[in-house]
Amino acid sequence: MKKEIISPLSASVRSGNDFYSAYPLREWALVKRIKQVVKDNICGELCSLRFTWQKPKKDASSEEVFLYETLAGLIDAAWYLANAPLATLHIERVPEKNNLFALAMFKNEVAVEFELNECLPNSMPATHFIKANFKNGHVTNQPLVGHFNEEGSILANDSSMERMVIENPDWDDCTDEIATCERAMMRAIEQGAYPAGALHSVEIINAINYALGLNKIIIPVKEAV
């Protein structure tokens, strides 16, 4: 028998059980894992959820898909996890853009935050995260640090994306963490906070040459104290 699968928008105006509503995010492994954690009582009671859905604008969907499939699908996933009827939904949307924040409350006082942004510069990849906060733990695929779980800030436009390390906002070379070390060294020297002299240069250079078997020993390592 043919299985009819229809969009949430179509399903909203149809009755009966002779069709399926397309909520593929119910089958997202992350959603299923959180559901299992709830079922197994691994982290206690679920309290709040945050959904992060970000895409570059070149991959943005139509407005109808964005609102009535993506947002609807994320609300359905939240409902599935909260396991209680929706009580409140508030949406703040950038006019005419696939960019919105939404807040939902379910009857059992589970709060859900939605960040949906399909207006990222075209140089950026999509990211999809959920963070679930429980009374006794957390479940998430969200980065621990920053946008991609890597150091620094992100500055992007349609043609490029830079990972920046901003030591000081008026420095131009924010993209290179090691270049800032050189700046810092120069400053430390100016302030007298950096030791003068060869430091361990002799031992280090000798050690490298010795370890490589090169006949360029300046002073034998054992004599360089």
Binding site: E92, E115, S153, I166, N168, R187
Partner: protein
């Protein structure tokens, strides 16, 4: 140059220990005269932190401390929020420079009174909103001001931490924190005075970065993760600025800590302060821990756990910290504090609107 003679009125704020034990930048320009706290445990902690400063006198009554030290030039107000107002008024009466922990007061009538009595005040008043000195947020402000991101369309900013409820004396009391006991929702046991009251930074940072005021907010609060906490541990807010920019803010205690009497994180990051700005021409994302390290150490502040921490920064300006900025103002080297009483109060108005939104489950327009 002569150090600034300063009093510390109350040690309830979790940032105060950083000043007393010298971990905050700019402290070397201060001469601590005295510290007060009515809570003997907190006062003992202050004594321990300042054991290398024999000149410091400790008081259980802040009024007696003020009376005993007419030579003081400044006061650091760090008590429970409820007592900030009385301390502030007394400091003004004594013509002291004021460095106050946030929030200055969640009572807006008190806020208005503070503005009124300091309208022509010739001393410095600075509120501790220290994220102004994080270079990645300074850079965000620069990008926005220079138009590098185009028209700003949306801003996402979190200020999520653990709760100090288990290890900080008297923490989580709605009366002490919010100033009065007001349930989050009609009939609720959980009251105002938690994560939202404790985290004014996002409201201040968004105003500072954009130069825009908040127009309206809508907020929700989940059931508490911590059953023993009498104040809210989750709030999420959406809103709009005057220029139509959409905002999302989460100022919660959503990162769990262990149920022990010391600071021991469960979620391995004490602070999630993530900023994302979407503009018509570009995108910028920054994390408070922008140069992160992972530390596991038996003597680390949260021992024997993998903890995300920052690795510090290179400072090129000696005034590049909240306290150094205050000191520069006191000495007349800087005209205006980095974060003023007006800034602190503007954030409070948005925060109270968020509380009102949660209570009434509706959008609240910000009062001007």
């Amino acid at each position: 140059m002569k150090k600034i003679d300063i009093l510390v009125a109350g040690t309830a704020n979790p940032h105060i220990p950083f000043y007393l034990d010298g971990r905050r930048d700019g402290i070397s320009e201060l001469n601590f005269l005295a510290v007060s706290d009515y809570d003997s445990k907190r006062l003992d902690q202050a004594r321990e932190a300042m054991k290398e400063m024999p000149q410091v006198v400790f008081y259980s009554d802040w009024r007696k401390m003020f009376d005993a030290h007419p030579e003081a030039e400044a006061v650091m107000i760090g008590s429970d929020n409820k007592y900030h107002f009385e301390m502030f008024k007394e400091a003004v009466k004594r013509n002291l420079h004021i460095y106050s922990m946030k929030v200055i007061s969640m009572n807006e009538e008190e806020c208005e009174e503070m503005l009124r009595i300091t309208k022509d005040y010739d001393k410095v008043i600075q509120i501790e909103l220290e994220l102004h000195f994080s270079p990645q947020f300074q850079y965000a402000k620069k990008l926005v001001e220079e138009g590098k991101l185009g028209k700003i369309e949306s801003i996402y900013l979190t200020n999520i931490s653990q709760s100090p409820i288990n290890y900080f004396p008297d923490w989580g009391d709605p009366e002490l924190s919010y100033g009065e006991t007001i349930p989050m929702k009609p009939g609720a046991k959980v009251c105002r005075g938690g994560g939202l009251t404790d985290h004014p930074h996002p409201f201040d940072l968004i105003r500072w970065i954009t130069g825009q005021e908040f127009k309206k907010v809508f907020a929700v609060s989940a059931k508490n993760q911590r059953d023993h906490l009498r104040v809210e541990d989750h709030v999420a807010i959406t809103g709009e600025l005057d220029d139509g920019t959409k905002v999302f803010i989460n100022p919660s205690y959503s990162h769990l800590e262990e149920q022990v009497a010391t600071r021991r994180l469960l979620w391995p990051k004490s602070l999630e302060c993530n900023l994302k700005i979407t503009g018509s021409e570009g995108y910028y994302a920054a994390d408070y821990y922008d140069k992160h390290v992972y530390i596991v150490g038996k003597n680390f502040v949260s021992p024997d756990r993998l903890i995300v921490n920052g690795s510090g920064r290179v400072k090129i300006d000696k005034n590049d910290s909240m306290m150094a900025s205050f000191v520069a103002c006191v000495r007349g080297e800087r005209e205006k504090p980095e974060t003023t009483l007006e800034d602190g109060i503007a954030a409070i108005k948005v925060m109270n609107a968020a509380y009102e939104s949660i209570y009434n489950n509706k959008v609240i327009q910000i009062k001007r």
